[in-house]
Amino acid sequence: MRGRLRSSALAGVLAALMALPAFAVQPDEVLDDPALEARARQISEGLRCLVCRNESIDESNASLARDLRLLVRERLVEGDTNEEAVAYIVERYGEYVLLNPQADGWNWLLWAAGPLMLLTAAGLGAGYLRGRSKAAPQTEAALSPEEEKRLKDLLDDV
């Protein structure tokens, strides 16, 4: 699971990234206004730490993540809405920074995949169930008598 199986060769890279570990949100980053801080946390949870593996900047110890957290707070203090603050970050760091992929272009396929597959599967399932409920019980013996006996042995043996 997450990051637990890194090869030791890469541990060096990791050590370099984490040379000055700081634990996620630091006390000196926290804004005085609790409402603003809550918004900052909410935004941070949706932004990727660019040098980490699948971590949001809210969880990350990397210094780049700290820079981004501070940037988000700066934008909020300057009066940006959540959307504006996120747009500001995306403009500078690219779409890759968003943990929640946008639903535009071909990405609609990603978002629609679940509902589409469910509809298809439900349709097929319903068809199958209708078929089963109308089917005539099969009477012919598909198994040889010897096999039927063996099967009976197994199934009745409770």
């Binding site: 699971m1 997450r2 990051g3 637990r4 199986l5 890194r6 090869s7 030791s8 890469l10 541990a11 060096g12 990791l14 570990p21 700081a22 634990f23 996620a24 949100v25 006390p27 000196d28 949706g46 990727r48 593996r53 699948n54 971590e55 949001s56 969880e59 690219g94 779409e95 890759y96 920074v97 968003l98 943990l99 929640n100 992929p101 946008q102 071909w106 990405n107 990603l110 978002w111 995949a113 679940g114 597959m117 469910l118 599967a121 399932g125 199958y128 169930l129 089963r132 409920s133 089917a135 019980p137 099969q138 598909a142 063996r150 099967l151 042995d153 197994l154 199934l155 043996d157 409770v158």
Partner: protein, 692 residues
């Protein structure tokens, strides 16, 4: 076998560098073990022999089954046993090299250190790519051997084919190990000490996480082998369903425990108490789990009603197929570019070939033969069969959603030239609805009759539980402070599932309400209710965290007290502690409630000098209704320390639920019907002889 010791100028340099990088604590055993090379060589030799035996086990019984030559078919059983013993010896030899710190093996150098605690020397055997692949084939061979030992009542041709297919998978993985990931590669110049195991892996929870996970992953191989063998035979019947189910159940139980251990580890180790991250590597284990859960349920329909045959075969192929996909994701590093286990394109391509060959081959065979699987059972639209179909649809589609989300960054980059991320917000939004629907229909489906049920009757029985669950959900909604609606909904579903499972058992006591009848129920029925209740408890735990978690981040001076959600925490001291192979900054915090001391907590921040990596060790006061979770951070300029405190309501319920689910699986596995199917037949036949 003698090996050259470090000598000459180059050796002196290496030694010097290693000594500087790794100051060995006084009193630690010196690196030795240059005399044990023989065992390592034998281990290597045994691995190659196991490969050859697997080739024989793949070819001979398959021809034998085709030509109906009993002698050739009979070859499968001893071959499976021999192959298992050989690879078992090979694995033991590698473990021996780790235990004795044999630094003539480059794998031991890269992943061990003489000062490492013994438990982690042992777990270091599988804490790396090569060793874990060896564990992978060991388990593959173990399942093959078990199928041979317990399969004495299988039809001769089916058993021969199952073992041959199992051996074919093994051949591919032996080749992978021997040609791309050989754990027995020697160092030309053995150093005095190793580079240590990744400190994150030096943890009891994680020491046992991979073996359980692999038992699950690889356990699904036997279901795959059964499916492919049945396709070759061209026949699936109720007995087939009964043979496959215990293997699926065992694999699913192991996978559940393995995933649970990993999640628990992440909770206490990563320093902020998350339990699921939708990481590609996590998803890699979760997709087979969902498929195994689906297979478990559809095999019941095959066994009891002789329907859903083709679908069950397909699920068995997909479940193992997704295990292979998971292996590919983890090993190739294609989706986890920054820190993968084995970031080696050659290995990735090899596993991709294995994946394409086996999944593709099995699916082709399926397409050719599926039409011959005629369903026998007839049932109404409102029936247990239909409920199980719904279960299968939800589990399979949700697993595909996880798959699409996991590979989407790759697809988007290759096809649409967009570099994007798919993270937890997507999975939470796209996956959760499936689990909500599943939770909603589960208690109804679990109680409705086979063939033709009456929804009204079941609904009436479950009405009290439903009302109670809605009331609890409403209470949760009233108590929480404007957070996500998922909290109360989760509480409702959790209570509904637990209550539904209890109601199911209650109705089984009959009119007499005689509770002793429960003890006489088939274990499979008890297991079913237990596992479903476990899922409910898991839902409750997740809901508790979503609805009521609290967090506090602050700088505290030594001696300072502060309040978090009614608890009083006092930072008594922060000191430096020397561990066996790390240095720790340890806080000493007293946790009190209303003046009563509840616990003394010692959160740590460790630094492993050899691997040059820091880790956090959270201190957690575990209680039934909540955890208090404390992490110590850095020293600040004003002399204070960063302290992070989390109140985590019902956190334990997540792992308790997971454990109860596995327990339900084990109960079901111990059902007499499976033992009869799996091998007790011989003794029964013997007992029956005098009567005849």
């Amino acid at each position: 076998m003698p090996h050259s010791r470090i000598g000459g100028r180059r050796g002196a340099e290496t030694r010097d560098k290693l000594n500087r990088a790794a100051p060995r604590p006084i009193g630690a055993a010196p690196a030795h073990a240059y005399t044990d090379g023989m065992i390592t060589e034998l281990g290597h030799f045994a691995l190659i022999l196991a490969f050859l035996v697997a080739v024989v086990q793949m070819v001979v019984p398959l021809i034998g089954a085709h030509k109906r030559w009993p002698g050739w078919m009979a070859m499968a059983e001893p071959a499976a046993t021999t192959q298992f013993l050989l690879v078992g010896f090979s694995f033991a030899a590698l473990m021996y090299a780790f235990i004795t710190s044999d630094f003539s093996l480059s794998l031991v150098v890269q992943n061990s250190h003489s000062a490492k605690p013994m438990l982690y020397k042992i777990s270091g055997t599988w804490g790396n790519h090569e060793g874990s692949m060896l564990l992978w084939v060991l388990i593959l061979a173990l399942f093959g051997a078990m199928a041979a030992w317990f399969g004495s009542n299988l039809p001769e041709t089916l058993r021969a084919r199952v073992l041959a297919v199992q051996a074919a998978v093994a051949v591919a993985f032996y080749a992978f190990i021997i040609w791309t990931s050989n754990p027995f590669t020697r160092m030309a110049v053995p150093p005095f000490d190793g580079q240590d195991l990744n400190p994150l892996l030096q943890d009891p929870g994680l020491a046992f996480h991979p073996p359980f996970l692999y038992l699950g992953y690889v356990g699904l191989s036997i279901c795959f082998s059964f499916a492919v063998a049945a396709l070759i035979e061209g026949r699936v019947d109720a007995a087939w369903g009964r043979w496959v189910r215990p293997w699926t159940l065992a694999a699913w139980v192991f996978l559940t425990i393995g995933i649970g251990l990993g999640s628990w580890w992440a909770y206490y180790e990563l320093g902020w108490g998350g339990f699921w991250f939708w990481d590609p590597v996590e998803n890699a284990s979760f997709m087979p789990w969902l498929f195994a859960a689906a297979l478990l349920h559809s095999a019941i329909v095959v066994e009891k009603r002789e329907a859903l045959k083709a679908w069950t075969i397909l699920l068995a192929i997909l479940a193992f197929g997704f295990s292979l996909i998971g292996t590919f994701i983890v090993r190739s590093g294609v989706l986890t570019s920054v820190h993968a286990f084995a970031n080696d394109p050659e290995r990735g391509v090899f596993i991709l070939m294995i994946l394409v060959f086996f999944t593709g081959g099995a699916l082709t065979l399926f397409a050719m033969r599926a039409h011959s699987m005629q369903a026998k059972g007839v049932f109404g639209v409102v029936s247990r069969e239909s409920a199980l179909v719904a279960n299968n649809i939800l589990l399979a589609v949700s697993s595909f959603v996880v798959f699409v989300g996991t590979v989407w960054p790759l697809v988007a980059e290759m096809l649409f030239d967009r570099k994007l991320s798919v993270g937890p917000p997507f999975f939470n939004a796209a996956f959760t609805p499936f689990m909500l629907i599943l939770g909603l229909i589960l208690p109804l489906g679990a109680m409705i009759s086979w063939k033709r049920g009456k929804l009204g009757r079941v609904a009436k029985t479950l009405l009290p539980v439903f009302v109670l669950a809605v009331a609890l959900g409403g209470l949760a909604w009233a108590m929480q402070t404007g957070r996500s609606l998922l909290g109360p909904v989760g509480v409702f579903l959790g209570a509904w599932l637990v209550g539904g499972a209890l109601t199911d058992l209650w109705t089984r006591t009959g009119r007499s309400r005689d509770l002793s009848r429960l003890a006489r129920l088939p274990r499979a029925d008890l297991g079913k209710s237990t596992a479903h209740a476990g899922l409910g408890i898991l839902f409750l735990g997740v809901a508790g965290l979503i609805a009521w978690e609290q967090e506090d981040i602050r700088v505290a001076q030594v001696g300072e007290s502060f309040e978090v959600a009614g608890f009083t925490l006092t930072l008594n001291d922060v000191r430096r502690v020397q561990g066996p192979n790390y240095v720790s900054t340890m806080g000493d915090i007293t946790l009190a409630l209303d003046g009563t001391v509840l616990a003394e907590l010692f959160p740590e921040k460790r630094n492993y000098p050899v691997a040059q990596m820091p880790t956090t060790e959270a201190a957690i006061d575990y209680r039934f209704m909540r955890d208090v979770y404390v992490v110590i951070g850095d020293r600040q300029e004003n002399g204070g320390w960063v302290v992070r405190t989390y109140i985590k309501p019902l956190a334990n319920w997540i792992w308790a639920g997971t454990l109860i689910m596995s327990l339900g699986g084990l109960l079901s596995l111990s059902d007499r019907r499976f033992r009869v199917a799996a091998g007790a037949r011989k003794s029964r036949d013997k007992a029956a002889v005098p009567a005849e």
